[in-house]
């Protein structure tokens, strides 16, 4: 491993830590603007019949009125030592709540990612094989279509067709194999669009490279050219794109879990938002940032090792890192 690589790695690691800390503070500030809290809202349930004076008394008894800065300090120091606090809504430790629902979301997100990658590869590689006359244009339009359909509509359709009409899965058992697969499809379709866009753009670019033209002139078939020359260089950047879609998967799980009735991070957020349960929201958003930053850190650190063409340009100012470069490529590819 070269010195330049180690310097680069150390720099990226430092950046990651700074970003996580800033994300925590940012979330805290946004979340503290929230007007209400779950404790008061439970007290205000009309069935309870508490008067305003009684509510004020109970709130005061719990000491819920410390200054923001003190709260931030307590919360941040807790976060750094691994203590995520106690949910105001349920009264249970936030770490327990998250641990309970995390497996379900991980299964959904990883299946969704697998669906997205397979779908994207099918579409992208298909564009290299399907001739123009036989619907290559249609295939190229797929990512655009995938990006245009709200995933809750996909979810509702899948539930109705496969859950109720065909009866492949039971809505009340959303963790079963088929239910998970269809939830993953609903989650994966919009994500696949982004991966497919990048893949198609890369394949097209590689196909225009000199070496590809040379290979073609030597009479190499379409399939062999694709398999031996285009596949690897065109697919490598996908590592970074996939890392960038982690946020998409987490965000999308919010909707997908609600539609499919799964109990995961997304539905936890949904419940916490509806009761404005600050500690839980704070923890989930920060963890989302941590996951995103770590996954991207790994992708950035792996990428130069996987693709020897990428040079580490340490030291030189204002040179975009690979993550910058690829993320711009992604958005551009998506836009193109």
């Amino acid at each position: 491993m070269s010195n330049a690589y180690l310097t680069y790695a150390a720099k990226r690691l430092g950046q990651a830590v700074v970003v996580i800390l800033l994300a925590y503070v940012f979330t805290f500030v946004v979340v503290s603007i929230l007007p209400g809290d779950p404790i008061t809202s439970v007290l205000r349930n009309p069935q309870n019949g508490f008067s305003e004076e009684e509510i004020a008394e109970i709130i005061a008894a719990q000491g819920l009125d410390k200054p923001i800065a003190v709260q931030l300090w307590n919360s941040l120091s807790g976060f750094l030592t691994g203590d995520l606090g106690v949910s105001m809504r349920s009264g249970r430790p936030v770490s327990t709540l998250i641990a309970e629902v995390l497996p379900s979301t991980l299964i959904l997100a990883s299946t969704g990612l697998a669906v997205a990658i397979i779908l994207a590869m099918a579409v992208a590689y298909g564009t290299q094989f399907v001739p123009k006359r036989y619907g290559q244009g249609l295939l190229r339009g797929f990512p655009s279509l995938f990006l245009s359909v709200p995933n809750f509509v996909i979810g509702l359709v899948l539930i109705h067709v496969f859950g109720f009409q065909i009866g492949l899965f039971r809505v009340i058992n959303p963790d079963s194999f088929w239910a998970t697969l269809f939830a993953a499809i609903a989650l994966g379709i919009p994500v696949s669009a982004q991966i497919a866009e990048v893949l198609i753009a890369n394949l097209d670019r590689e196909a225009e490279q000199e070496y590809a033209a040379v290979a073609r002139s030597r009479g190499i078939g379409r399939a062999r050219l694709f398999a031996t020359h285009l596949l690897k260089p065109a697919s490598l950047p996908v590592v970074t794109v996939v890392a960038l879609t982690i946020g998409e998967l987490l965000g999308g799980s919010l909707i997908t879990e609600t539609v499919f009735g799964r109990t995961g991070i997304g539905s936890l957020v949904q419940r916490s938002v509806s009761t404005q349960d600050l500690p839980v929201l704070q923890a989930v958003v920060s963890l989302g940032a941590v996951v995103f930053v770590i996954v991207n850190l790994i992708a950035d650190l792996l990428y130069p090792l996987l693709d020897p063409r990428v040079k580490i340009l340490g030291g030189k100012k204002r040179t975009p890192t690979t993550a910058d470069e690829v993320s711009i490529n992604t958005t551009k590819a998506v836009a193109s």
Partner: protein, 282 residues
């Protein structure tokens, strides 16, 4: 009725326009769809005789028919009229989101890219923070903080798009700054603001435009998703996302979901197609 005549007129117009400019047919159709959507949002009354708010309770939950193209809802209101009248809010909220993203993100990217140095480092980290929080999660948190209304959902969506615009603008600015003609302008003594205004901004905006158009489509979807989760305007508002969200409670009458969903998908698809075309002709 009015719908058909208008579409015929604008159809023939755009065909002439298209042959002059060599626009692919799908792009022409996309422009047509967008034109209709804009017309709906500007003058909904021209496209339907029904009220989106007051219905005939006795005619509730009718299937699509000649009088009610998209059927009627649970209060006997014409769903087509509700879609048409809801367009203005759906379109304008998506516009608000894009404007926030482009202006705030563009400014950050411009400053970071143009001035570089410590300002770039600080802004880049802030953008990293925004980028690190899952976009939809960020939008949900922001909309919770500022209140459940469509305009707030639009603001939240805009905020969640700031990072991406900042990144693209910054990259474009850096690229342009290093281009020979800008170096030349610096050497020939052009002032910073002049160069920024005259050379860098136009160049950067060229690649931001297709992204902004794309973001417009995405904003429609994000705002609809927020509405689906219940973070939208109160009744009788009829934004597309709200219509889908209300319709999902009446799945026995599927047109209540599929009609607004179809319009949403068609619009976003058209916008995406236009964005792609803009990118190619650039």
């Amino acid at each position: 009725m009015s719908f058909v005549t208008t579409s015929v007129i604008s159809g023939s117009r755009s065909r002439a326009w298209l042959s002059a400019f060599r626009v692919p047919p799908t792009v022409a159709i996309s422009f047509l769809v967008v034109a209709i959507v804009i017309a709906w949002s500007l003058a909904p009354g021209l496209f339907t005789q029904y009220s989106p708010v007051v219905g005939i309770p006795a005619d509730k939950l009718l299937g699509p028919n000649l009088n009610h193209w998209f059927g009627t809802d649970h209060l006997g209101r014409d769903v087509y009229a509700r879609v048409v009248y809801g367009t203005a809010s759906s379109v304008s909220s998506a516009l608000v989101a894009v404007v926030i993203g482009v202006v705030a993100g563009g400014l950050v990217g411009l400053l970071a890219g143009f001035f570089g140095g410590w300002l770039d480092i600080v802004l880049a980290r802030l953008v990293d923070v925004l980028l690190a929080i899952p976009k939809f999660l960020l939008a949900v948190i922001v909309v919770t903080a500022i209140g459940f209304e469509t305009i707030n959902a639009a603001i939240a969506t805009g905020v969640s798009a700031v990072a991406i615009f900042a990144r693209v603008t910054r990259a474009e600015v850096i690229k342009t700054r290093q281009a020979t003609f800008v170096e030349a302008a610096f050497l020939s003594g052009g002032s910073r603001s002049f160069i920024l205004w005259r050379h860098i901004l136009p160049n950067a905006s060229r690649s931001v435009l297709p992204l902004a158009v794309l973001q417009f489509g995405e904003s429609i979807l994000v705002i609809a998703s927020l509405a689906f989760l219940g973070y939208g305007d109160p009744p009788p508002a009829s934004d597309w996302g709200l219509l889908i969200s209300i319709g999902k409670d009446y799945l026995k009458w599927p047109w209540l979901v599929y009609a607004p969903a179809f319009i949403t998908i068609l619009t976003v698809l058209s916008v995406n197609r236009i964005s792609r075309w803009l990118r190619k002709t650039d």
